[in-house]
Symmetry: C2
Subunit: 200 residues, 2 copies
Amino acid sequence: MTKPPTRIQTRNRAAILSAGLDVFSQFGFRGATLDQIADAAGLSKPNLLYYFPSKESIHTALLERLLDTWLDPLKALDGTGDPVQEIIAYAQRKLTLSRDYPRESRLWANEILQGAPRIEDTLRTDLKTLVDEKAAIIKAWANDGKIADVDPHHLIFSIWAFTQHYADFDVQVRAVLGEKAPYDGASVFLDTLYAKLLQP
Amino acid sequence: MTKPPTRIQTRNRAAILSAGLDVFSQFGFRGATLDQIADAAGLSKPNLLYYFPSKESIHTALLERLLDTWLDPLKALDGTGDPVQEIIAYAQRKLTLSRDYPRESRLWANEILQGAPRIEDTLRTDLKTLVDEKAAIIKAWANDGKIADVDPHHLIFSIWAFTQHYADFDVQVRAVLGEKAPYDGASVFLDTLYAKLLQP
DNA sequence: CGTTGTTTTGACCACTTGGTCAAATGCAAG
DNA sequence: CTTGCATTTGACCAAGTGGTCAAAACAACG
């Protein structure tokens, strides 16, 4: 019988996860330090370790929370509605995710860049299954002549690549664009790109 | 009057840079350790520091070498030749770069992810200037009706994003594709994508 | 061979790192 | 107020970190 968390527990655990997200997403697992995270969370290091037993456990907690929310948009892509609009809507949803959750995007990017030691199994099973399933739907649309015949896997990669680019390479995008806001232009471009590509 | 490097110097410096590239590209600057690099280079740590005075100096040497080769393809894009083919050729060149130099791509990605502390100035000046210049060429093509009217900056971002994705997210791409080779399909997809997008 | 400059190394150092622990503090309910 | 639990902390530790240094091993050349 597990006890319900106290108010303090709820607050501090949330603070730690947010601080961990800040630090891990910028420096990766190995580059992050507990002192940094403790500082960012406004707690002492021993206090931090009172709530999470180890550095690893904070990272794991973040990755688990991330996985669900990260794959949700793709799960939402189903056979109902106009195929071209469905795919564009999916891409727009992913772009919004990049804009609203850039730290999460970078945490993911860091994990993959480092060889995905902690989630490689999940990628090979859960992610592959999900992508193959959605690729089959897209392939069926192509076979029915409802969209242009393009490789569904690379189509999905291109959506991931483009949308996550704005979160992961944020500094570079802003350095190049100067004052211009990135996401409005990206959204328009994305619309045109996939409308033209998928038009049967 | 600087002396020419001995054979041993040439060999060891190259070994260190290659080892540094391996380690920095996987773990980022902070996550990498001199012991790792020394191991990978087959040298002792003090020996490594005989050739480079500090961890930072290895990293800097790598970034400098990278900058040139990384921007070369974009520099090569000029006004001669068929506009659509020019842009597609640029994208293909970048894809080849990702396939042949994935470590360099990941080193860049790591640097940007960490906020580009060491190259932010270069991004704001050299990179922005170069991109703005090429964007102007593309914009002129659009105004002449030679290609479709799309935002040149986001067009360039999309090329970077898509091509670098195959190097930076290699583990994920391979996990999803299984046995299939990534780059052939990517090349075909890329061709279709930009041909359709840019067709006036 | 010996001499001279290059390369390599073992021992070492100060500092940082992830993590522990006992003791101190805060706090809520009886 | 006090009892009991949740929370916080200072002191500490072993291992790892970037980096130094003097001495040893090596290479080249006359």
